[in-house]
Subunit: 190 residues, 2 copies
Amino acid sequence: MPSRRYHHGDLRRAVLDAAVEVITEAGPAGVSLRELARRAGVSHAGPIHHFGDKAGVLTALAAEGYDLLAGSLTEVRDRTGEFVEVGVAYVRFAIAHRAHFEVMFRPDLYHADDPAVVAASTRASEVLTGGVATVADRTGDADLAVAGVAAWSIVHGFATLCLTGALSPRFADDPETTARAVAGMLFRRR
Amino acid sequence: MPSRRYHHGDLRRAVLDAAVEVITEAGPAGVSLRELARRAGVSHAGPIHHFGDKAGVLTALAAEGYDLLAGSLTEVRDRTGEFVEVGVAYVRFAIAHRAHFEVMFRPDLYHADDPAVVAASTRASEVLTGGVATVADRTGDADLAVAGVAAWSIVHGFATLCLTGALSPRFADDPETTARAVAGMLFRRR
DNA sequence: CCGGCAATCTTGTCAGTGTCAAGTTGACGT
DNA sequence: ACGTCAACTTGACACTGACAAGATTGCCGG
């Protein structure tokens, strides 16, 4: 068994997977290029060829995260047609893909101006802020754009508070249900 | 002028101030103990005596941040009596004390179980979640605790999105006004 | 006044890290 | 067979966090 072939095969993916592992275990601050290389079974400078530098690894992870998020939100919107469920899906994504999420909103860790990242993040935010038009604001006269920001804010804030452990266990233990209740306070379907 | 006395005078404060500077310039990831020591004008191991380790510096910063936040929220609540303004104050704090705020909600960067931190953070969250009782939920029948989480979520989310640069300039340029509108969508005074 | 003493800061050192330059391997087209 | 180029290795350098040991200083009791 060639446990150490010269060419890895898919080092790029292996490094990203290792990054997810490490971040899950120790947070984004615990990531080191050399550790990722070790887990992927290559020499310490192997990953550089694929990502340029450390920030490049996290850039790829952020782009992948925004892509997954946009896809997930779109799917839920098209399947359920209920805007509140899109918000719940946002929270579900943050918890299921915690490592990605924790990197995505730390622009100081990666190259935030990367085209792939901005494209994917724009796509995700548009599903959220745009979908607002499909529900009734409970006052009926609010600015739709402001409502979009409000929707994004409330689900993003809830997700962040969940992940940082700021919420009491009563809410953190069943985040999806809590998220539905919280999001429902802001919007409700017609 | 003794530009380099052996005893600094208030190294602790100088290091914390330097940390705020660095974080403002390069984010929490750009902080290095040695750089802080350099800016404070002491040798590379000077700060360790006061903070134990690098995480200790950020722990002190987080505790200070939660303290400032709790004080600010309490002051606004007592002065204005309007809950929405407490939310606006939360956002104002995040922007005015960006460096503190960016550390506070990254528990992987510091000793999150530090007594001073948990005490101050509890104090701050209680002002927010507790103040909900003073306003009317617009449906009139929601769980107050859930409403507290919603309030915290929406202002925290908005603050975070502002700081990460995720919002369009139209909203990011006057965050306080936008925050008032966003918070007003969730609650309004009786 | 003065002698220790503890807090404060320095110096030296170590393993670990990010990044670059140069070399090595191997696959693939011609 | 041969060149070529991407993928990876090896080696090096400056920087970092952490620790140990030493130097300096303010201070407090006598």
